[in-house]
């Protein structure tokens, strides 16, 4: 479960997030909507520890993680631009987190291959990011995040770069991934149809405040 308690973020005297309080139960697919520049990405960055809130607390499964470093939180993050590592092949991208944790090469290979199969990118393992399409990059970014076995997955407009024909396929993939990995997902989107198809909890951010719109 994610719990945000009176989270506030101010920069240069301007309040971006104000008193954000919400609880997202475990194994929930939450979608967050709101106008451009309303603080959605900032909220995700505070959640995964890339920014420190001005005040307030972030709790994961009841543990206060507000002062923990990003690597200590067990949160997977897929930013809007996907941020694949330049110069690393798909195999190295997916194996990045397990290798960092000292996983044995054989086990590492098994995990990479299993995720590559699951995401339909097994034939791309030796490619560099520049040689991938938008949809392929999105799958690699998701597989890379899941290879670290996070409890919570934060997705910042992950489907915005995909065309209409690929979107339905990507929505189905995200649903399948959330269920198979029993994840709590917080997905930022501008698309109402995407939110309706995926979300079991609908959140809206307006003028730095977060409101629960509906529970599916």
């Amino acid at each position: 479960m994610i719990k945000l308690e009176q989270l506030t973020w101010k920069v240069s005297g301007r309040t971006i997030l104000e008193d954000v309080t919400v609880a997202i139960p475990g194994n929930t697919y939450a979608v967050l909507m709101g106008s451009t520049g309303c603080g959605k990405t900032t909220l995700l960055e505070i959640l995964c520890g890339l920014r420190q809130p001005t005040s307030g607390r972030v709790l994961l499964d009841g543990v206060d993680v507000t002062d923990l470093e990003p690597r200590e939180r067990g949160i997977g993050y897929v930013p809007q631009d996907l941020a694949l590592f330049p110069g690393l092949r798909v195999r190295e991208q997916i194996g990045f987190a397990p290798k960092l944790r000292g996983m044995a090469p054989e086990e590492l290979n098994q995990r990479v291959n299993r995720l590559a199969e699951q995401f339909g990118i097994a034939h791309l393992l030796n490619r560099l990011p520049d040689m991938l399409s938008g949809g392929e990059k999105q799958r690699v970014a998701l597989a890379r995040a899941l290879a670290a076995q996070p409890k919570l997955l934060l997705l910042d407009e992950p489907l915005s770069a995909l065309d209409e024909s690929m979107r339905a396929e990507a929505v189905a993939l995200l649903q399948r991934v959330q269920q198979e990995h029993a994840l709590t997902v917080l997905h930022v989107t501008h698309s109402s149809s995407e939110a309706a198809a995926l979300g079991t909890l609908h959140l809206r951010m307006m003028a730095g405040r977060l409101e629960v719109e509906s529970k599916g």
Partner: protein, 260 residues
């Protein structure tokens, strides 16, 4: 193409550019035709100039290597971290670029007369030594390498490093595993620029390391020594050799895709 006002403007700008390039072509052409290739080779074969060439190549490579080792962490810090007084520090890092070269040499000379300097000299002698040549080249070349690395990191998105942090990296690991591999072209460019700067360094070396033949004489010192005894042919031969090296460095930097 009809000569309208817009085209006339482009034509005028092209003429200014062509005029500037022509001026440089005339300068280099005049220098190149001052003596013959045979006399160049004869000059370049002399033991003093061979020693100066070898010393230049070695000291420039060492100075550029040290400059790169400094430029990567400083460039990364100045790009990725926001802190109070950053603009002042930014300006301070450019001081070696704007200081008159002789002043840099004088500062080095005076520093090594202080107590701290003398303690350092007891461990590694610098003043009027080959190590002094490397240090004099390093202090100026490092500023250029830092500027290049800062530009490189500015052009690289910080997002992949952020993602690496969430995947389990410490900040140092994110730099090592993600930022540095992405910045390798910039590192090559920074090394080349520092190397080229070191090759042309003269004032600080003359003041701090001296111009002793077969000891601390590097190629710019050779040009000065030959000019001071009226041997213009030798000065021209060494100058043309330095132009050739500079062009090779420029080609190498352009090949990395980085802008100088």
């Amino acid at each position: 193409m009809p000569l309208n006002r817009s085209n006339l403007c482009w034509l005028a700008l092209a003429l200014i550019t062509a005029g500037y390039l022509l001026f440089w072509a005339l300068l280099l052409g005049a220098t190149a035709t001052y003596s013959t290739p045979d006399s160049w080779l004869q000059v370049l074969r002399s033991p003093e100039i061979r020693h100066a060439t070898l010393l230049s190549l070695v000291t420039c490579s060492l100075a550029a290597g040290f400059a790169l080792l400094l430029a990567v962490p400083v460039g990364y810090l100045m790009t990725r971290l926001d802190f109070r007084g950053k603009s002042w520090l930014d300006a301070a890092l450019d001081i070696p670029i704007i200081l008159p070269p002789l002043v840099v040499g004088l500062c080095l000379l005076i520093f090594f007369q202080t107590k701290i300097g003398m303690v350092i000299e007891m461990a590694i002698p610098f003043t009027y030594q080959v190590s002094g040549v490397v240090l004099a080249q390093f202090v100026v070349a490092a500023a250029f390498a830092i500027r290049t690395m800062r530009g490189t990191f500015q052009h690289l998105s910080a997002r992949p490093e952020d993602v690496a942090l969430t995947l389990g990296c410490t900040r140092f690991q994110a730099l090592w595993h993600v930022a540095l591999p992405a910045a390798r072209r910039g590192m090559v460019a920074a090394f080349c620029i520092a190397w080229a700067r070191s090759l042309g360094e003269f004032g600080p070396i003359l003041v701090f390391a001296g111009a002793t033949r077969m000891k601390t004489e590097v190629l710019p010192t050779t040009v000065w020594l030959e000019l001071s005894v009226g041997n213009l042919e030798a000065a021209v031969a060494v100058s043309l050799f330095m132009v050739l090296l500079a062009v090779l460095v420029l080609v190498a930097v352009r090949a990395t895709g980085e802008k100088v």
